[in-house]
């Protein structure tokens, strides 16, 4: 019953026969991919406008129909800082390297808030965007990437509060603590980048795993809580015994937080070889996350 409208329909298994096509035209091939996929970051670059729009959507939607709106970006770290100051600073008397506890903890909470928000949002991003994934093609990397990037705006808003706090401490009558912003502040973007790389790396792993294993939804809060304790947010790194310092540095967020305090508050914990360890770990997390994500990506539409 096969009609003869297609005389060239000879099966030529894997080798595509050259077709008559215009030179300028794009050609897409769909075939089963094997082994580790290549990253194809060029394609991601071509879809940069989509990343922009997805980031913009996440931002727009986040505070729609809320009374306080973007104020939430400030309230969350500020309230956490107040609680930490009361319980860890006043009651438990945790040392803070001679920096007033509120500013000590708030400086750490800035990158920490960015990080937890990013891994939480990115980890859930593929599942919450399943309608798009199962209907339309676009580089899937755009989704967790946009989740991470949208946190940067919240970070910027919360950062302005830190400047107010520094101003307050510097003008406190009889205040012995002074923050002099030095040239070190120009290294801040590097630490911010380190936080983003770590968050994206972890976010890629979690989001791809979440497609197959919804356990990730339950694990996520636990990861964040656990990670908080191994990061010097409520306590200074100087509390960690010397012989554990190297292991401690395996957590890239420790390097980020120390870096923030060093760049902004002139704390004496200067970045050392430990920062190199942190950066190497963060990079490894990102690269492995990218490859794992690309590898799993081909079945996302079928399993999500």
């Amino acid at each position: 019953m096969f009609s003869g409208t297609n005389p060239t329909n000879q099966p030529s298994l894997n080798q595509p026969a050259p077709s008559k096509i215009a030179a300028a035209e794009e050609v897409f091939y769909m075939r089963p991919s094997k082994g580790w996929a290549n990253l194809n970051l060029f394609e991601l670059w071509r879809y940069r406008e989509l990343i922009y729009f997805l980031t913009w959507r996440d931002l727009k939607v986040r505070y729609k129909q809320t009374i306080l709106g973007a104020l939430w970006a400030v309230l969350q770290p500020v309230l956490t800082m107040v609680v930490f100051t009361i319980f860890f600073g006043r009651l438990a008397k945790v040392p803070s390297d001679n920096i007033p506890y509120p500013i000590f903890s708030y400086t750490a909470l800035l990158p920490w808030g960015l990080f937890t928000k990013a891994i939480g949002d990115a980890g859930r991003s593929l599942v919450s965007n399943r309608a798009m994934i199962t209907k339309i093609y676009f580089p899937r990397l755009a989704i967790p990437l946009a989740s991470v990037l949208s946190g940067v705006v919240d970070f910027a808003i919360a950062f302005s509060v830190l400047l107010v706090m520094i101003f307050y401490y510097n003008n406190l009558p009889g205040g012995e603590y002074q923050v002099a912003l030095t040239a070190r502040i120009w290294t801040l973007p590097l630490f911010l980048l380190l936080a983003l790389v770590t968050a994206l790396g972890a976010g890629l792993w979690l989001s791809a795993l979440n497609v197959n294993y919804r356990d990730i939804n339950h694990i996520l809060p636990f990861i964040t809580q656990f990670w908080l304790f191994i990061t010097p947010i409520v306590y200074p790194t100087s509390m960690v015994p010397e012989r554990w310092q190297l292991i401690y540095a395996l957590n890239p967020m420790a390097g980020v937080v120390e870096g923030f305090r060093w760049a902004l508050l002139n704390s004496n914990a200067a970045p050392s070889y430990m920062l190199g360890v942190s950066a190497a770990i963060a990079l490894a997390l990102l690269v492995s996350g990218l490859f794992y994500f690309r590898r799993m990506e081909r079945t996302f539409a079928d399993t999500v």
């Binding site: 019953m1 096969f2 009609s3 409208t5 297609n6 060239t8 329909n9 099966p11 030529s12 298994l13 894997n14 595509p16 077709s19 008559k20 096509i21 215009a22 035209e25 794009e26 050609v27 897409f28 091939y29 769909m30 075939r31 089963p32 991919s33 879809y47 406008e49 989509l50 922009y52 729009f53 997805l54 913009w56 959507r57 727009k60 939607v61 729609k64 129909q65 965007n129 309608a131 798009m132 994934i133 199962t134 209907k135 339309i136 093609y137 676009f138 497609v211 197959n212 294993y213 919804r214 356990d215 081909r298 079945t299 539409a301 079928d302 399993t303």
Partner: protein, 462 residues
């Protein structure tokens, strides 16, 4: 010499069908870990692990090693080419693999074997409004959706006014779309998708929603696209739309390419040979989506007065359509619908088993169990030809459990029906036995007598 737009060779897609309605559709980590652990155990001490696996399978029935899970080829050995500028129809029953084919061509999912080659950007209208966010305004969603569909921002800027005009939602463009009526939502969503200018447009059935006016507009837009020389793949159950828009069509059946032919032939093939002509259709498990639970269709059949299953019925005789189904849980307000369509897909009537108030009240809750809903088709109802029966199980305004637009086809034979003394084809799907009277009224009127004489010249101009 025509250029190739799409080339598909030996394409196949296999799905695992581990998901039953009661079981979660996704894996849990525990399963994977215990699986990995078990296979390790198996390697060390195979007899023990086999017993364990067996007992586990027997007790809970939820541990099925991945390799042994049943799989289904949604698509297999598909090969075809589409020259540039062709509008190609794709027809096939539910579960024939149409959607899977479109998903592979639009790169949403990867094939399991074979390959496809697509020249140019593919725009898919697989589901309009994908990526629309209810909290965002019409304007914001237009940009977002455009970007998701692969449009550049400058492209959207340029077409924005045109999109809004087409969608007819000018007044509400700055209102969040969650406040839109479903019609407005759909119009805007389609407008965005329709103004994407891909080299290849893939259109699925979903467009057939919306009111008649909107459908007309959609089909018009599609013809425009086709006229600009772009390639269109059009999937539909609506045979008249397929015949109107396409010259050639593919017929898919159970994941295989059954026929590629000029649309007329393809439609005829689909409506006749494509169906089992046994007068009954029993649903396979793969034709029943998981979302149908607790409803499970079993069989639909055409039965004559003697109780025999028949493929052909006489127009002059009464016959019955029986729909057999089971409910694993009670459903309140369930109604089984029957859709009668002509062979070309035009609706003839729609009826539900609880149409009558008595049955409606008597069966307001249908308890779990096995049922047959039987509908009597009265004699002298249908004209000769081929008809299709669609089935649907739903609760009004709440949920549609199951539907099969083309569950069964049957022939109507007109012998003995009114007017069969003339061997001519009668228009229209019904052939009722109407009562006519012919009354003699005395003498011929005088003007008529007169006019008959001058008729050749002035009678026609008068």
């Amino acid at each position: 010499m025509t250029q190739i737009a799409i080339r598909v060779e030996n394409l196949g897609k296999r799905y695992r069908i581990g998901a039953t309605p009661t079981r979660q559709q996704y894996n849990t980590l525990r399963e994977s870990i215990s699986q990995a652990g078990l296979s390790a155990l198996r390697a060390v001490a195979s007899p023990i692990s086999r017993i364990r696996a067996a007992s586990k399978e027997g007790s809970a029935g939820m541990f099925i090693p991945r390799r042994e899970q049943p799989t289904i080829w949604a698509l297999r050995d598909i090969s075809f080419e589409v020259p540039q500028g062709q509008v190609l129809g794709i027809i096939g029953r539910n579960g024939a693999g149409k959607s899977t084919l479109l998903k592979i061509l639009s790169r949403v999912t990867e094939p399991t074997e074979g390959y496809a080659e697509v020249h140019g950007r593919v725009g898919s209208l697989l589901e309009v409004g994908t990526g629309f966010h209810p909290e965002l305004t019409g304007r914001e969603n237009t940009y977002l959706n455009g970007a998701i569909l692969g449009m550049k921002r400058s492209e959207i800027d340029k077409k924005f006014d045109e999109i809004v005009a087409f969608s007819e939602v000018e007044k509400f463009i700055d209102t969040p779309v969650k406040r839109y009526s479903s019609g407005m939502y759909l119009r805007l969503a389609f407008a965005v998708a329709a103004h994407l200018e891909p080299e290849i447009l893939v259109v699925d059935e979903v467009l057939a929603v919306g009111d008649a006016e909107f459908q007309r507009k959609c089909l018009g837009k599609m013809s425009d696209v086709a006229e600009t020389g772009r390639t269109v793949l059009f999937v539909s159950h609506n045979m008249s739309a397929i015949m109107r828009l396409t010259q050639e069509a593919l017929v898919l059946d159970k994941g295989q390419l059954a026929l590629r032919a000029p649309t007329n032939q393809a439609v005829d093939y689909y409506l006749s040979a494509g169906f089992t002509q046994s007068g009954r259709h029993a649903w396979n498990p793969e034709e029943i989506p998981a979302s149908a639970a607790p409803f499970r269709p079993v069989e639909i059949r055409m039965v004559n007065e003697q109780g025999r299953v028949v493929d052909s019925i006489r127009s002059t005789q009464t016959c019955f359509v029986e729909i057999e189904y089971q409910l694993s849980a009670p459903i309140t307000g369930l109604r089984i619908g029957l859709y009668l369509l002509t062979g070309r897909g035009e609706p003839v009537f729609t009826a539900f088993d609880t149409d009558s108030p008595e049955l409606y009240h008597a069966h307001s809750i249908r308890p779990a169990g096995a049922y047959v809903s039987r509908c009597q088709l009265p004699s002298d109802l249908l004209n000769e030809g081929r008809y299709l029966l669609g089935v649907n199980a739903s609760t009004y305004g709440m949920q549609r459990y199951f539907h099969d637009e083309q569950a069964l086809s049957f022939n109507v034979d007109a012998s003995g029906a009114p007017g069969t003394q003339w061997a001519e084809v009668r228009m229209g799907p019904i052939r009722p036995r109407l009562s006519w009277e012919i009354q003699p009224r005395g003498k011929l009127s005088p003007e008529f007598q007169h006019s008959e004489q001058i008729l050749p010249l002035e009678g026609r101009n008068g």
